[in-house]
Symmetry: C2
Subunit: 126 residues, 2 copies
C-alpha cells in the first residue's frame, strides 16, 4: 500500500531571470514571492498565498516555457509503476524524483511526499 | 477598485477523447471526474477532490497539449489592464473571457469570478 496526491504545479520559464519571472507571476496572481534555501534557490522561487495548500513555484528552465504538475508520494517506485499502468511513461530520473509523460503528452513529476497536507489528503493505493 | 485571484488550472489535451483524457488525469491524481452541463460539457470535464479549492479541469483542444492558469476577477477589463501594465499582452477575447500571454511565454485566461472562494481569497487592486 502506498499513497499519493496532487501537490501543486510549477511554472517553468525558459530563458528568464528567475527573480523577474517569479515577480511577474506573484504580481499577476496576487501572491507573495519567497526565495528558497540552498541549491534549490538558484532554480526555483515559491509563490505564497491562498492557493488552497497546493504548492505553486516558478522555475527557470532551458526547454520551452510550460506549466507542469507534481504528484507527491510516500513510495515513488510504487507510484511510478501505478502511473505506468494508467498509460504514463518514464522520461528521466532527476535527483530523487521521476519525470514522466502522460498519454495526453504532458510532462509531470513524481516527488517524495513532504507537504503539510499529505497525510490528510493523499489517496491510498493497494 | 476591483479584485482577482488564481482560481485554478486547466489541463489542455490535444486530439484526445475528453472522457479518456479526463479519466487518465482523475486516476493519476486520485480525483473524481465530473461531467459539466450544457455546451461546456463537450469540451471540459472537472476533476473533483482535495485541490484546496482550486478548480482543476481537463479540456480538449486543437493546439499542442499544455497546462494553463485561470485568473478570476469581478472586473475583467480592469484586470486585463492591470496585467498589461505587468507586461502581459492580449491574445484573444473568447466568449466572456480574455486569453493573455505572460512575458514568460505562458498563455493564461482572465475569467469572470464565480468560485465559492472568491470573496474570501481575492486580492483588491486600486
Amino acid at each position: 500500500m502506498h499513497r499519493s496526491r496532487l501537490v501543486g504545479f510549477i511554472i517553468d520559464c525558459q530563458g528568464q531571470s528567475l527573480q523577474g519571472a517569479a515577480q511577474f507571476w506573484g504580481d499577476a496572481l496576487g501572491m507573495g514571492v519567497k526565495a528558497l534555501p540552498g541549491d534549490e534557490g538558484s532554480a526555483y522561487m515559491e509563490l505564497v498565498g491562498p492557493a488552497g495548500g497546493l504548492h505553486v513555484e516558478v522555475q527557470t528552465v532551458t526547454h520551452p516555457s510550460r506549466v507542469h504538475l507534481d504528484i507527491e508520494s510516500d513510495d515513488i517506485d510504487a507510484e511510478v509503476e501505478r502511473l505506468e499502468k494508467l498509460g504514463a511513461t518514464r522520461v528521466a530520473q532527476v535527483k530523487s524524483w521521476w519525470v514522466m509523460e502522460a498519454p495526453t503528452g504532458h510532462r509531470f513529476c513524481v516527488v517524495h511526499s513532504s507537504s503539510a497536507g499529505f497525510h490528510q489528503h493523499a489517496r491510498e493505493w493497494l
